[in-house]
């Protein structure tokens, strides 16, 4: 448990990475086209659906999947479960990459991107009633903070690297970063609590345009709970996948204990979601045969499944079962958020949206970049703590 984190090493430009680079290259070209030609030429967005894939998936779903760092930090630093400590760095890394990708997507999505710099700087113009302003500033700050949380990993590597300015700087900076880390970590806990709940509050403003099965004053709380569940699921998913790919010592004991902590969160979400609908009499809408009811049931069944899959201790110790539960949880939380922002949004009759090819390829390219970044960083910097059983390949 007290093993130090180590870099995995190994070749960087493996075949999968070359494929990912090609995918990203396609996305990069389309990004340039989008910036030059505008949103109408490159996306399926319209006055009816001003927000599409990039917001509903890259930002709203993506940042929740990137809440692993937030989730593990709550466990380790607040609930004082020190034994999960080895999982912090990989989780923080995924968070950093996920939030960075969301930031890039927002930048591409805003129509007047060349004015984006005004947002953090024109504080005298800030509309403090705007929930989106809070979300935007919070996500910007958190993206910075989450990379800052990762700096010890970079400094440790440079500290032990070849002599030079970088080494001297790292040796000097490390104690400073280490000392101030408490306040950085605290910020890393505060900011997601704020913006992940506020992402839910965003849709309160759409009022009757959001289908009543989703429109509720509990949106902020449901969004907070869903991001914790998805953060957890992403940690399990990522940990097991890394074990497989890098032939690392499996962390099944730790993951089994983690999944026990997840049950109250999942149950809380489920009870709040159904209880709110039932007590306000909106649950009857789930029995109207339309696409909203279908989306609702799909989402609800998916949320209930991990509750069943993780119910007994034996189930939680079965790696295959744990992996399935994590995948379903990511899908369930993702679907809840995606539905809230896109499927359940009703701008009126005769308006439709399905993402265009450039939208999908840009999102795909950014995900490819995220995976490349992950692979390069875990191979170059001390992220993982488990000793590899043999030299890493991947």
């Amino acid at each position: 448990m007290s093993e130090r984190a180590q870099r995995l090493g190994g070749p960087i430009f493996t075949r999968p990475v070359r494929v990912l680079i090609a995918l990203f290259a396609v996305g990069a070209i389309l990004i340039l086209w989008r910036l030059a030609a505008g949103l109408g030429a490159t996306t399926a967005l319209s006055d009816g659906y001003p927000w599409g894939l990039w917001i509903a998936f890259d930002v709203v779903t993506g940042t929740a999947l990137a809440c692993g760092g937030y989730f593990i930090a709550i466990l380790v630093y607040i609930l004082n479960k020190g034994r999960y400590h080895p999982m912090i760095r990989p989780a923080i890394l995924t968070s950093a990459l996920g939030y960075t990708m969301a930031g890039v997507s927002v930048f591409l999505d805003i129509g007047r991107w060349w004015l984006a710099w005004k947002l953090p700087l024109f504080f005298w113009s800030w509309n403090l009633r705007s929930v989106l302003l809070e979300v935007a500033l919070c996500i910007m700050a958190y993206t910075f903070v989450v990379w800052l949380e990762l700096t010890p990993a970079f400094l440790e590597r440079f500290r032990e690297g070849p002599d030079g300015r970088l080494k001297r700087f790292s040796q000097k900076a490390y104690p400073i970063v280490d000392k101030s880390l408490i306040w950085i970590i605290a910020l890393g806990l505060l900011l997601p609590t704020m913006h992940q709940s506020s992402l839910g509050s965003l849709m309160l403003l759409t009022g009757p345009k959001l289908h009543p099965l989703w429109q509720t004053p509990f949106l902020p709380l449901l969004f907070l709970l869903s991001c914790i569940a998805m953060g957890y699921a992403a940690v399990v998913f990522e940990s097991m996948l890394a074990n497989l790919l890098f032939r690392r010592k499996p962390e099944t004991d730790m993951l089994a204990a983690l999944s026990r902590a997840m049950l109250p969160v999942l149950a809380g979400f489920f009870i709040l979601r159904i209880g709110d609908l039932a007590t306000s009499g909106r649950l009857s809408l789930a029995f109207v045969p339309d696409r909203y009811a279908l989306a609702f049931w799909l989402e609800t069944v998916l949320i209930a499944m991990p509750l069943v899959l993780l119910a007994s201790a034996a189930q939680r110790r079965d790696p295959g079962n744990l992996f399935r539960a994590a995948m379903i949880m990511m899908l369930a939380g993702g679907l809840y958020r995606f539905n809230t922002f896109l499927v359940a949004y009703r701008p009126g009759e005769d308006v439709h949206y399905f993402p265009s090819a450039p939208e999908l390829l840009i999102t795909g390219g950014l995900i490819a970049l995220e995976i490349i970044g992950y692979l390069v960083i875990v191979k170059t910097f001390p992220i993982f703590s488990g000793m590899p059983r043999r030299a890493a390949q991947g």
Binding site: I78, N80, L115, S130, I185, L190
Partner: protein
């Protein structure tokens, strides 16, 4: 450890409690009352003949290009709805049996408590002189949250342009140019050529302009004189917290495409919840201090328990 868990639970429950508390406050209210000189339009479906002179006048006054995208050969200006080059439009409603029909003029409603100005991050959309919901492109980054928020789907975006703007009716505020309001025929009006173009050119006074109070009084007078002619309601008097543009109609308002809104303003629920959580930013700051303190304590405890542990309590 148990204490720390309690901290976390408390903050979660607090958010929920704020949400529930917010649900209880559902009475009609507008946070900032309208100024006495709030200007608006009154549109009367019984007077409109669908000539679209208002649409043409709006184009001239606002220098927008005719929309011939729906016209074979591109000869007619036929916008299907408000769009990135159309700030007002006249639509025709026909009932399924064909017995009832009505024209309907759409433009910005200039809400008393608008969802779009609440949404807008830097205040590019804001309520300015005479309560007019105004647009300042230099503060707009094009996020389109205003479009998501508006219950009337009014703000439109210039999708075809690489440097797009939000497009919406600003009650021809650019035409005022220093002119001042004066009482004319019982209404506060600008000298001709300085007021809202659509109202100035309407040959049937189907759409007129004046202060909201004057228009409300006129609407009530018309309903009292011809109670058989109108649906007994002035749309916009209280709907969505009240709007400065008002409608009288002989067919149900929902048939005209106007949303059914309560007297509670659209942004009120969100504001109540967010304000409950973030009042004076006290809760986030307190939570921050608390989180820092708990982390500090845990780290100290862990270091004293396991002094030999390398990397203890560090990410």
């Amino acid at each position: 450890m148990s204490v720390d868990r309690r901290y976390l639970l408390k903050s979660l429950v607090a958010a929920g409690a704020a949400a529930v508390a917010a649900e209880g406050t559902s009475e009609a209210r507008v946070r900032t009352p309208l100024p006495a000189d709030a200007l608006g339009l009154l549109y009367d479906t019984t007077r409109c003949i669908g000539c679209k002179t208002c649409v043409v006048a709006c184009r001239e006054a606002n220098d927008t290009k005719p929309d011939n995208s729906n016209s074979p050969g591109g000869i007619w200006d036929t916008p299907m709805d408000l769009n990135g080059q159309t700030k007002t439009v006249v639509k025709l409603y026909k009932s399924a049996d064909g017995l009832h029909r009505s024209y309907f003029k759409a433009q910005c409603m200039h809400c008393a408590d608008p969802a779009c100005t609440t949404a807008c991050m830097l205040g590019a959309l804001s309520k300015r002189e005479h309560g007019i919901v105004s647009y300042n492109p230099s503060l707009c980054i094009g996020c389109r949250y205003c479009q998501m928020a508006c219950p009337f789907n009014v703000p439109k975006f210039e999708w075809a342009k690489a440097a797009p703007k939000i497009v919406k009716c600003e009650l021809c505020r650019h035409r005022v140019a220093g002119a001042s309001l004066a009482k004319t025929d019982g209404y506060s009006r600008y000298p001709k050529g300085h007021g809202p173009a659509c109202a100035e050119v309407c040959p049937r006074q189907a759409v007129i302009y004046g202060t909201r109070e004057e228009l409300l009084a006129d609407a009530r007078r018309r309903m009292a004189e011809h109670p058989d002619r109108y649906v007994p309601k002035i749309y916009g008097e209280t709907d969505g917290g009240g709007t400065q543009c008002l409608y009288l109609s002989h067919v149900p308002f929902e048939d005209l495409g106007l949303p059914t809104l309560s007297a509670r303003s659209v942004p009120d629920l969100q504001h109540t919840i967010q304000h409950g959580i973030y009042q004076g930013f006290v809760a986030p700051l307190a939570l921050y201090g608390l989180l820092g303190a708990v982390i500090f304590r845990n780290r100290r405890k862990q270091q004293s328990e396991q002094p030999e542990q390398e990397n203890g309590g560090r990410p």
